[in-house]
Structures are given as C-alpha cells and as structure tokens.
C-alpha cells in the first residue's frame, strides 16, 4: 500500500463540477434538484456556506435561472445545474441572460429524453437545445467534458468565459461523466487562472451598460454600487432602455453575436489524438462518447488501422474550422453520439459532405460500446 497524496481524490464528475465552481469564485447557486445533476446541488448546499457563499433551493427551474441572473447582476459569480426537463424550463431566462449580457453558468447533466425520458440513464440529445433552445439569434457557449478532471477544468473555463464575454455558458455534460468516479489531482488554489468581469472605470453618470466598445464586451457594473441602469430582454440601446430604432437594433444585435463569433478562436477548444496525414479514418466525438471512441481507436491502431480522433471540448460555437483542418486526407468520418445524429449533421455541413460521414447513434440509455465503433472503423 502506498501513502495517499492529499490532493488526489476519487470523486464523481458532479462533485468535481461543484468543487471547480468554488475554485472559480462562484458564491451563489440556485437550483431545483433533478437526476442526474442532484449531487452538484447537494455538494454546493454545504460547500458554499463554508466559503461565505449562498445556496438556495428554488421552487422550480425557471425561478432558479432567474435567481442566478439576479445574483450575477449583483456582482456574484452564479451557477445553476439541471437536466433535460429542467433545461427546457430554463430556456426563456437563458435567452434573457444572453440578451441582457449577464454572465452565468448553466450545467446540464444530460439524461435520456424527450420529456422526462430516462431519468437515470445517459444521453447526449440536448446539444441542439443548448444551441437553439431559446428563441432568436443569440450567442451561446457550450463545453463538453470527457472525464472527472476535465469536468473540473471545463467548469473553471465556463466561469472564465462567462465573465470574459458577459454571456451565459453551458457546461453540457452527461450522466456517465457526472456519475463517474475516478481519480483527480486537484490543482493548487494559486495555480488556477481566474478571470473576473471588467468593471466600469467611468463615473455612474457617464456609464453606458451596453456601450459599443472595441472589445465588443462592455464593462459591467454591480447593482448596489451606485451605477443605476435598466436591464431588459427587449432590444435596447447603449443605455439599456428599450428601442424600436432599426439602426440601433441592428447595431446592438450585431455586437451581441459578434462578441462570440469574432472571438471563436479563443473559445473553441478541441483535442487531436493521432491525427496525421496518414490517417484514413477520423472519429469526431465529445463527452462520454469520446471515451468509447478513444478505446476503439487504440484497439484499431494496434491492428494497423490508420485512425485518429478529434474530441470536441467546445461544442458551441461549432469547431468547423478545426474539423476542416483535422480531416487531412481522411477517407471517412465516424461520428458516434448518444442521439440520432445532431452533431453529425453539423459535421456534414462543416465538411461539405466531401467524404462519407458515418453516423453511429444510440438512444436507449446505454453508452456506445467501443466494439461497435471498432466495427465501423474496420468494416466501413
């Protein structure tokens, strides 16, 4: 037996998410417990008070989303966590947060759907909902972790991106990763990069909460510090008050979407494994399915098959440029996912269907077995 190191823990993905939120500086969580995300609320219900933060269980998911928006306007880093049916309920306020440019983190531990679906079983069928679940052309960022330590890292990143770009960020994990217990080496507190929202440097009278700045991200004042301004879901001008002026609407909506699109290189993250010019088969995967894909790739490579794997850590904005680069001379692409092909369709668009895209889908609540992917690698 070896002496255990203090910062090495065996924890599940949901616990890693909660601990990372605290490390990121989150001081407010509002939620309504739902399987398979409940452990995030459970852990934060006792961890947040330890660091001077607040935990509140709201009457439902709609109110939880409203509460974190309010907390964020007051200056707190705020988070909520949910799954399928709860994520549906959050959509209206999620759109409000995007429109009013309020940083917050929404965790969706995906389970089988539609509706209440398969509450205790894994799925990846909310990827399109994460992108377009709320109405209107809006920017969104969504990150998909593949392990417990990745959940920790990407939760930190979700907070940092939300603060940097004044936008809601979705941590789109799944039941397998959320409930998976594995080893994690927790980083030293001082070694973590923390980004905080930019605060106004002008006096309250001169403050424009939605100013068209060069960075596309206007500084954000905390409510209660003397900077009085209007927050609305209506199209607004630089002061925050509603406007019907089409020129001002065009300007505001362009900036809202541009701040994510023009910074997509900073936001998009992918991992390339064994991608080279010899590669004949490219697998594109994300979340827990990337674990199945990795094993299938290793087995196939041992048998001499030239196969590589592109893991999408950022799923929105979509990594189309990274996919085009990773394709190299591949003759086919395999997209395994726990839905009926939601990301495969995006891959078809990104690659202009130049080579065959093979969809490998499963929606019965079980993960995709590596042997199933291996079969498609070797047999076509």
């Amino acid at each position: 037996m070896s002496e255990p190191k203090k910062n090495i823990k065996m924890i599940q993905g949901n616990t890693a998410c909660a601990e990372a939120a605290i490390a990121a500086g989150c001081t407010f969580f509002a939620g309504y417990p739902i399987t398979p995300s409940t452990e995030i609320a459970e852990v934060l219900s006792y961890r947040l008070p330890m660091v001077g933060g607040n935990f509140i269980q709201m009457e439902d998911e709609i109110a939880s989303m409203g509460a974190i928006i309010g907390a964020s306007l007051g200056g707190a880093k705020a988070m909520t966590a949910t799954s399928g049916p709860g994520f549906s309920l959050k959509q209206e306020n999620l759109g409000f947060a995007a429109m009013a440019e309020i940083p917050c983190v929404v965790v969706n531990v995906q389970r089988g759907g539609p509706s209440t679906g398969l509450p205790t079983h894994v799925a990846q069928a909310d990827v399109m909902q994460a992108r377009w679940g709320t109405h209107g052309d809006h920017p969104i960022i969504a990150l998909c972790p593949t392990s417990v330590s990745d959940t920790y890292r990407l939760t930190l990143r979700a907070f940092n991106l939300s603060e940097k770009y004044r936008t809601p960020v979705i941590l789109l994990t799944d039941e397998l990763i959320g409930h998976l217990t594995e080893k994690i080496e927790l980083p030293e507190p001082g070694s973590i990069e923390i980004i905080n929202r930019q605060k106004p440097t002008v006096s309250p009278e001169k403050y424009l909460p939605y100013e068209s700045t060069a960075s596309l991200v206007p500084p954000m004042a905390n409510f209660g510090e003397g900077y009085r301004y209007h927050v609305t879901g209506l199209v607004h001008d630089e002061t925050g008050f509603p406007t019907n002026d089409s020129d001002k609407a065009a300007l505001m909506l362009a900036r809202l979407n541009d701040k994510i699109e023009k910074n997509r290189d900073d936001i998009v993250e992918v991992e390339e494994i064994h991608i080279d010019y010899e590669m004949e088969t490219l697998i594109i995967a994300y979340g827990s399915s990337a674990r199945s894909a990795n094993r299938a790739m290793i087995t196939a490579r041992e048998e001499g098959h030239k196969v590589g794997l592109l893991v999408l850590k950022t799923i929105w904005p979509f990594p189309e440029k990274e996919i085009q680069q990773a394709m190299r001379n591949a003759k086919k692409i395999i997209v395994p996912e726990l839905n009926l092909g939601q990301i495969a369709h995006e891959v078809e668009w990104a690659t202009n269907r130049r080579i065959p895209i093979i969809k490998l889908n499963r929606i019965n609540g079980e993960s995709i077995k590596p042997s199933e992917i291996h079969k498609v690698i070797t047999q076509g």
């Binding site: 037996m1 070896s2 255990p4 090495i8 823990k9 065996m10 399987t35 509450p119 205790t120 079983h121 397998l176 409930h179 998976l180 217990t181 594995e182 080893k183 674990r291 199945s292 990795n294 094993r295 290793i298 993960s367 077995k369 590596p370 042997s371």
Partner: protein, 185 residues
C-alpha cells in the same frame, strides 16, 4: 501493455453495490496508486429494480469506463445474473448468492456459490452488511487490491460508527472465500 481488470456488481437497488464499487475503486486508485473508475446504472426507484455498479482497474489510462469483458461478475439476484452473464469473460468468475440465484447459467467460467445474505444475517446479525461480505469475497478471489487498502477505503467511506461492523463483514467475506477455495481446490 497495461492490464485492465473489470468487475461488475449487480443486484437490486438498495443492496449497497454502488458503495462496494466506490470502496474497491478507491482502494485501487488512492491506496495502491493504480487507476480505477467506478460507474453505475440503476433505475429511478430508491429500492428494488435492477442495479449495477462497475469498477475498472488498470495500471494504464482507462479510456472506456464501462465493463465489456468482465473478469468478476457478482450477482445478488437471479434477474441480474441472467441479464449480465453474457458479458462475462470465458475465463472469468461468477460469484452468486447461492440462495437467491438458483439457476446458474452454464459456461466455461468459474462459479462461486456462497449464501452471502444469509451469512450477513446469521453471522453478523445484520443483513445490510451483505454488500461488504461480497466485497471481502471479491478481494480474496480477485487478488487485485490488498486487504489493507480495502480496510482503509472502508474506513474512509462508510458512515461514522459503522466501521467496526463493516470491517467484520469484510473479514467474514474473506473467510467465506477461503473456505470455498479450500473445498474446491
């Protein structure tokens, strides 16, 4: 080439199999310096319904964290045994509760039949520690983690005040497995 050892613990919800999985994985990963994952699959019920917990132990990276080619299958109900036997490696071991699993599937694998739940009631006076007796049997049969590591992991994981009865249950499981090995060697 790294090794990969797969254990599936199956039965019905409430039998404590997820805890057994967590203790095994923690013994391997925290106290033995190996890599381990523990995953689970269960229904929406708090009690009853099919439940399984899977532990993968390896000295290398564990990519796919679910069991595909099982080395040890524990089945505490007939339903679980029938449902999961197909994934057992042909050189693997099936451990069943001899009173609850009466129809043992045929195959090349080794079968260990022990009255696990009855032993918990009769020898320890608490059927609820049957899960830890099963853990003791698995520790002895698999030899994948040391007894000392498992004892540490139990102390760290079980509710305060129940350490002693759980360590006794672990020892009972080891004894039952030794008795079985002596009889069948």
């Amino acid at each position: 080439m790294s090794f990969r050892y797969e254990i599936r613990l199956s039965g019905s919800g409430g039998q404590g199999l997820i805890l057994v999985g967590k203790v095994l994985a923690e013994a391997a990963a925290i106290y033995e310096g190996l890599n381990a994952t523990q995953s689970q699959s269960y229904g929406p019920e708090a009690r009853g319904g099919a439940s399984r917990s899977e532990v993968i132990i390896s000295d290398g990276d564990i990519d796919y964290p679910k069991a595909e080619n099982i080395d040890i299958l524990l089945a505490l109900t007939q339903e679980a045994c029938d449902k999961y036997i197909a994934d057992l490696n042909e050189n693997g071991t099936l451990i069943v509760d001899s009173q609850l699993v009466t129809h043992v599937p045929e195959g090349n694998f080794r079968v260990i039949q022990i009255p696990i739940i009855q032993s918990a009631s009769e020898r320890l006076g608490k059927f609820i520690v049957a899960n830890i007796i099963a853990l003791g049997i698995i520790v002895k049969i698999s030899n994948i983690v040391s007894l000392e590591s498992v004892q540490h992991a139990i102390k760290a994981r079980v509710p305060k005040g129940t350490e002693e009865i759980n360590l006794k249950a672990l020892a009972e499981g080891i004894n039952l497995a030794e008795e079985w090995l002596n009889k069948n060697s």
